[in-house]
Every structure is written in C-alpha cells, then in structure tokens.
Amino acid sequence: MTRIAGGQIDRSRTWAFTFDGLPYTGHPGDTLASALLANGVRLMGRSFKYHRPRGVIAAGSEEPNALVELRTGARREPNTRATVAELYDGLQAASQNRWPSLRFDAMAINDRLSPFFAAGFYYKTFMWPASFWEKVYEPIIRRAAGLGSLSGQDDPDSYDKGFLHCDLLVIGAGPAGLAAALTAGRAGARVILADEDFRMGGRLNAETHGVGGIAGADWAAQAVAELASLPSVRLMARTTVMGAMDHGIYAAVERVSDHLAEPAPHTPRQILWRIYSARAILATGAIERPIAFENNDRPGIMLAGALRAYANRWGVAAGDHVVVFTNNDDGLRTATDLSAKGLEVSVIDARNGDEVTGSAGSLGLKSITVRRANGRSEVLRVNALGVSGGWNPNLNIASNHRGRPVWNDAIAAFVPAPDSVSGLTCAGAVAGVMSTHAALATGAARAVAALAELGRSVTPMDVPEAEDAPVKITPKWYVQSGKGRAWIDPQNDVTVKDIRLAHQENFVSVEHLKRYTTLGMATDQGKTGNVLGLAIMAELTGKTIPETGTTMYRPPATPVALGALAGRSRGPEFKPVRHTPSHVWAAEQGAVFVEVGYWLRTQYLPRAGETTWRQSVDREVLQTRRSVGICDVTTLGKIDIQGTDAGAFLDRVYANTFSTLAIGRVRYGLMLREDGIVMDDGTTARMGADDYVMTTTTANAVPVFRHLEYCRQVLWPDLDVQLISTTEAWAQYSVAGPNARKLLQKLVDQDISDAAFPYMACGAITVCGGLRARLFRISFSGELAYEIAVPTRYGDAMIRALVEAGQEFDAVVYGTEALGVMRVEKGHVAGNELNGQSTALNMGLGKMVSVKKDAIGRVLSQREGLTAAGGLRLVGVRPVDPARSLTAGAHFLAMGAPATAAHDDGWLTSVVFSPHLGHSIALGYLKNGTARMGERLRAVNLLASTEVEVEIVSPHFIDPEGERLRG
C-alpha cells in the first residue's frame, strides 16, 4: 500500500473495486487513478501504436495515458480517463488495447518494429496494391492500433438536454473562479459556477499553501458552502463546460450519475446544458507540461504537479524514492511537499544544467539516468519521477472563436488573446497569472468588470492573504541524448523523432505537423504535449514559438459521450408523432399506418381474409368508386387568410386569380416560387368577403405558411392581411363516391342538394343536430366528393358517425394508398410531380398562370428555357401488355433507341395498379408529351432491369369530362 496520511478522502468508509478482474479497495473521494496508485498499481494501459506500457501521468482531465474501459455489459464505456473516473463501491474497470493481458501484450511487438511505424507510415507503407487497403491493411492496422472497444449494445441509460440562464457563468472553481463567483453572488447576480471536478476548489485541493490563514482546501470548502447558501448562485460540480458557442451560449455536460454504479430510475446519466450567459469568466487554470527525454513514458513517470496532487489531495505516494526533474520553481514545490510527507526526494533542476537522459524498467520505472552539468552521468534507482516543464494556461474555450493565443515569455506559454470570445474574460492561471493571490484578485476583478458591463456596480471581495510567488522558469522542451525515442504525445505515440521527420519531409506548418504526425489528435487533444511539439518544430525551423503558432481549438474541450449529444432523441423518441383525429378509431379497426412526415396516417384498412395490401387497396378504391368512401384528410395544411386585402394578397401569391372568387366558392390554386417553378397546389375557399381558407399539401403545410408570412411581413406589409394556421383546429374528412351526398345528407343539418350546394361550393354548416362545421364540395378522386370539417375534438365522433351513416351504402374508409390510386386515375398531380423542378406548363396547367396580373413566379415562369416547345408535359401511361407492371422512375425511350441519357425522353413519376382498369397505370413527364398521345415507347428502368412497352395516353384515366364530380 502506498497510502500516506492526509488528503480529502473519507477513510471511515472503504469501497471495493476491480481492475482487470483483480480486487482492490479505495475510499470515497478517490478517483480510479488515485485508488489504483494507492494499491500500488502503476501499469494502467498500453499505448495506441507501439503498445508501450503506460501509467497515469496527470491528475486531471488532461490525462493522455490512463485510459480504461469502465463498467461492464451494455454500460461498458471505453477510453475513460482513470483520473476523472470517480470511484464508487463495486466499480469495475479493465485495461484496453492489449492482448492477451496488460502485463504481457503480444502486440508490443510493434514497439520492436517501431522504425516501420514512424510518422506518415500509413502514407508510405501501404501504397500497393491499392486493392489491399480496405481488405487487408486497414483491418490489420485497426486491430493492432486502437483504444477501447464498444459493447455493441444499446446504451441503457438516458440523457437529458437542458437550458440555463445566468448573468455570469464562471467556468472553473479554483481560486479565481471561487473569487469571481463570491464577488458576483454576494451582489445578488445570477451566477453559475461550473467545474468538471466532483470537489470544487481546483488546485487549492492539491496544494499545501494556505489562503486567509487556513489551508487552501479548507478555504475553498468554506467558499463553496457560502456560495451554496446564496439563492442566486447555482453550483454545478461534475460539469464540464466544453465549448463557447455564439452569443454568450456555452455547452456543458453534467455527469449526473457517473459516480454511481448506475443511474437511479428515470434519472439521466448525463445532461447536456446550453447555458445562456450575459457574461462569462474563464477560470480553467493551467495544465502542466513535461520535458521530453528518452523513454520518458514509463509507468511511474508523472507530471510533478500530479505527483503532489496525489499526495496532498488523495493521500497517495506514487513512490517512496522520488526524483523531481524541473525547469521551474513550481516543480520544487513537489519536492518540498513530498519531503514533508517523509518521502525520499531529490531534485534534478535543468536550470543548473542537470538533465534526465533516460529511464529503465520494463513495466514500471526502476531507475533514471542523469547527466550532470559537469557531463558526468549517473543512474538513480527511483520508482517515481515528477517532471515539470512549466504550466500551459488551459485556454481551449477562449480560442473557440478562432482567437489565436499569444505567447507570454514570462511564463513561457501561450495565453488567451484579449477579447477572443465576446463577453468572456479570463482570470487566474488561464490568464497567465500563476500565483494563488493573483488568481483570487483577478477572479474578483473580472467579476466586478463583467457586472459593470451589465450595469451593476459591485464591490470586489476582500482578497485573502495567499501565496504570491513569481514564476521562475527557464524553458526546456526536451533533452538531447542518444537515438532513443522521447515521447511528446504519449497517447498517439508521437516522439521528438517524429517531429524531426515531419520537418525533414517539409510538413512544417503546425496544421501539417499535426496531421502528419497525429500530434494532438488523440482523445486528450494534446493537452500536455502540443506546446512541446510546437517548440521543437520552432527550434528545427529557426522560428520563434509564436511564429510557429498553434492549431485550432475546437469544442469539445474534453471528450463527450455521443449519448449526451443525442439526449432523448433516440429510438421511438427521435421525433414527435402527429396523430390524426381518426387515429383512435382506425387503430381499433386494425388499420395499417404510414409515416408522412411526423404524421401517422392510415395507409389502408385490411379486412378479414385479405392477405396482401393490394387486396385491401383495390377494395377501398372500387368500393369508393362504386358507392362511397371516407378518408381522413386532416393532414392537409389549412391556413386562415383574412383582411380587407386578402383577395389581393392571394392574387399575388397564387399564379391564378382569387380576388374574383365568389363568396361560398372554392377554387384550385397553383403557387409558384420566385423562379417560376411550382411550389405547391391546393384549394382555397372564400368563406366571407375578407375571409379565405387555403388548403396546402400535407408536406408543404409549414413551408407554405412560412412563405405566406414572409410575403405578408416583408414583401407587402402595407396589405391588410392576417394569417394563422388552422390545420390542427379542424378534423377534415373526404367523403367521395356516387353516394357521398346521400351519406352526408344524413348528417348535415342543411340542404346539400346539387342545386343548394353545387360543385366547388363551400360554407359553414352544422352537423348532427347543431355542431358548427364546414363543408367543401371538392374532389381529389374524381368522384362526387365533399370534404367536411368539424372541430378536432369531435373528429373521432365524426368518423364514427360517417361510418355508421354509411353502412346502408356499404361505405368504406380508405387510406393513403387508395387515395393515391384514385388521384393517379384522375390525373391529379401530387408530390412526385410537384418535385421542385417542374412548371405549371410541365404539369399541363400552363393556362392557370394568369397573364392579366402579376404574381410571384409569373415572370420567371416565362423563361425561354421553361417554355420551349417540346418540353416535358404530363401524360398518362399504360402498358401495351396489361399484364406487365410499370415501375416509377423508369425512363421513356423511343423504340429501338439506346438506353442512354442522350436518348432520354422523360420519366414515369407515379405508378399505381388501377383496380378500375385492371392494369398498371402511370403519370409521367414526356418531352412534347401532349402531342404524342397514342405513341408507343419503352419504359426502361436500368436499376430494376425492367423494360416495358407503353402507350402514351391522356393523364385522365377516369371520367375525363368531369361528369362524376359535378353529379
């Protein structure tokens, strides 16, 4: 055991956990990493490429090495950093990317073959033969190199998304963040303080120096307790702010249940928060960086700050013979702290000319080689080495809006450029001020400034007495030594040699360097290694580090589970469902439903004995045409258009004229886009002098409404027009067929005889003894037909009333399939013809585009290219051999013409089996189609390998004179 006294763990309770199946114990307050170290476990993983043995390097979210698979079964999560995995009783973790075991990994042969795996080896090695790439090389590489593996099962947990608002978002709860939150919170500002750790306090929890006369960790705990008591402050521990979005919005992931074996019932595992902040303060501190030297990746070699964090916060000594290798005074703190805990510690200070040149120990550090300033080398037996090359401000979020960091010579690191993100300021170490006192002071000052911008005058908190040592550092990036490898990016196995190779092969731009060597492209995004890589490239190119520059910092700052991004939108909850008013009734009847956008519509209603959908659909069509059929058409968009200029408005948005429509009448309308292409079609009814009801297609209900609002608000704000959607307000049923009137007359309280309610009439009526309703005599099927609308709450009762009233006529309820068959039989265009590239002329509706008035799309619909003789025209199609089936999408070709695009004459848009005619029929667009009636062509579908001889006929297969619907 390597537990030592002290720390912020609860030793009164002991928790059991396993790693690679072996049992261990830890305490509340431990991370998996601290608990493993406390149990003497240094070897925690294998590296990505060379399968080198690796242990923990850091004590925070920047950890590149100690990646494990956490949990088992469906909850197994790969690539979890042991440093941020909070220990819980029963935790199960396993190492990854090794076979057959962590201690003996057969794939470590890669390390021996490392000369073949240098930077860019993918591009150089696997060039030939090309066909081997996908089948041979890639599978082998993927198996050999990699991280953890997915469970392959559905994630059993749920994830929420949410929205928070505040005056001030403080990111990071170290001394700077706590001071900012206290200053703003005491003044009553709405503050959110978010920190990725489960214990707030940041480095105060990992250091021994005091604040305000008490231990830093105790001061932090007091500050957190006070903040918790302030009603306007929201404390969000276990919450990682992962990126700065636009307009003061920040994305954050709260790990609600990750510290539990599994979430409580109905509780999400994580929540993705969208935080709307008026101002934000970034107080994310700094991340220590190493100094590269040969074989600097052995388990036991850690960042110096991490070494003392484990000792001070978790009461863990990572070794009892410790050396600290540093180029700055902060590294000396580790030596001081560990000595105070009774460990044997010595210091190699690079500023004195001493260097660590190598290490030994196959599965963990056993010794290091030191080259003294006088040139003499010696081997020291150690089991822990703390390395400090200085601290890099943790500035990812400050650079999310492309703000390039600026170099600060005083601390030898990049700091955020001022105003990199609008509304965001930086405080504490992330701003390059590295002492505790300066962190507290800048935190308070930034909060005062932020709130002043919001018009609030706030007094900064009194900054307590605290450590205020200056940064003393002499940059040292790597140690020049033999031919061995010195690691820069340990997770992706990028070495100093790889940087040199990239330079040698002229990949010197930082963006090329990154992609060629994969520096910083691992799950840790190079938090500890990037600046080393840049510094070495700068040295090789003879440029300064700021001249060399940095790559882009993009969200997320740390890895995010895809489940958190998906939230509740998965499986059946992926999108909402819209139910029609007849849904309950239809479900009782065993209807088959089809998704139409969000709507669930009745596709057809099978009856006993019917074994195929065609039998049901044929019956529904024939029964409707023979007697009467009922169909729920509520899904069609309905828009109320009122105002004294409603008629003029319609004249401008429709290609044909509506202002002349008589009150109580309906007209079919065609709406064009500005470019002259048909946008939508439908009927519009004039219910009163200034009162119209427009019907749109189901698919275009929203786009048309949006278009009309744009026209009203932007194009013609001077017109007196008011719009509102009424799609959902009315349950609307089509009643079609020779007996439609007889059926409806049983329910409608008024006279609807042909004389009283002729074809294309509309009006307010009452049904069933007084319920207000609307009736439209319009037909999509070509039959005598009406659409009747009642308030939606009565939609269920209405379908039942219609069915009951229709019994004596053998009425049928039909679905969308029969609807489609009948509209093709009648030659009405629908979605397949309204395809966004067809004109009124193409559809045979050219005369509807009025030339007596202006309307959207009129001018451009007359473009030469759209009006040329011989263009596509809507035609009907039937197979010459009635036994043959047609397929939609087949192209027209002249008899004997080769099946090439050059000979293409058009295509079949909609195909149905017409039970009325007893064979396939189709609509299609055919070049010069109107003049080619009776012509025989081939319908060729190269995808389906079909070719059918067809005859071009009128698109009106049923009742071309329209006698039925006027009956």
Partner: protein, 188 residues
C-alpha cells in the same frame, strides 16, 4: 354548448381529460377553455383597444398574459393575441368575438388547434429547464412566450409561480405529454 350528439375526445384521446401526478408534479390536460386568435386589421389599432376594453377583454403587451373576469389573452405578435374564455359558455368563441370586433379585427377559432397541459409543481424551473430555452426562473407570473419543446412549437403561460400552462399542437399531444412526464420524472 351546442345541442348535438357528437361526443368529444380529449387531445390525449380520452373521453375525459387526463391528470397525472409525478412526484411533486401534477400534469393536467385542460379542455374547458375556448381559444381564438384576434388580429387587428390595419388602421384599426385604436378601435380594437376600445372594443376590447368595452368587452372586458384584456390585451397584454409583448411576452404577456392577462386574465380578466371572463376573458383572458396572451400576446402572439404585433397586434395579435390569443383570446381565452370558458368553453362551456363560449364554445363558439370566434362568433362571439366577431360580434364584438366586427371589421376591426380578424378572428379565427383556435380551440382545438392546441393541446393544453397545466403543470403544477413547487419548483417548475427545475423541470422546465430540461424542456425549454425559456428562462422560467427569470419570468414573473403573467409571462407568456412561444418556445420549442422536443421539436414542437409551443406556448408557455406562467399563471403563477407554481402553475404553468403549456399549449402544444393538438395532434402531437401524446408526444408533448410524454416529454412533460419524462422531464418531471427526470427532474424530481
């Protein structure tokens, strides 16, 4: 109510509106309120204000809901309101409003366009921060807004600190109800 033989169904598909309790949260389907939109015709702004006052119909400003003795209203857009009245006495609410406002305003029945859920809980923001971008913690009683909940365009009305009305598209009542119940279970 008109004398006819058709029986209504609630948006959730039941003969009677559903009330569900999830921990401290009560989610009640409300069907006893008639709705109509009222939009001022150009040049009739003063007329509408005068006629509304005469009819005791409150017309709140942007982001607001106002409750009168019988009538209530919330703001939809410039010179555009949704008017509420008891369904039992105002089922044909549009006809009543047309009588009051004549040619000064356009009136459209909206009663059944919406599913209404009244949500009651001691800490509503804790639940609704998982549903909507609306800043409920910063909102006072009488606030009303348009927002999106689980892809659905909805209106929220803050009746009082413990009661919130959610109006969502009626056809998606079940999806909206599911979202509310899920958030309630998740938050409490």
């Amino acid at each position: 109510m008109a004398d006819h033989r058709l029986k209504p169904l609630s948006p959730l598909g039941h003969a009677n509106p559903l009330t569900e309790t999830v921990g401290p949260v009560t989610i009640a389907e409300i069907t006893d309120t008639a709705l109509a939109s009222l939009a001022t015709r150009i040049g009739h702004e003063d007329d509408v204000a005068r006629l509304a006052a005469a009819a005791a119909i409150p017309l709140p400003g942007p982001g607001g809901h106002a409750q009168g003795a019988i009538w209530a209203a919330f703001w939809l857009g410039p010179q555009h309101w949704m008017i509420e009245a008891p369904f039992a006495t105002h089922e044909d609410i549009a006809a009543v409003l047309r009588t009051s406002f004549a040619a000064a305003a356009s009136v459209t029945e909206q009663t059944d366009a919406w599913a209404r859920f009244d949500v009651t809980a001691p800490d509503l923001p804790a639940m609704f921060e998982r549903l909507t971008a609306f800043d409920l913690r910063g909102a006072a009683s009488g606030a009303a807004t348009r927002t999106v909940i689980d892809h659905l365009g909805c209106y929220l009305i803050v009746r009082n600190p413990q009661t919130l009305t959610v109006l969502g598209p009626r056809s998606s009542a079940k999806s909206l109800h599911h979202a509310l119940v899920t958030a309630a279970r998740s938050a409490f």
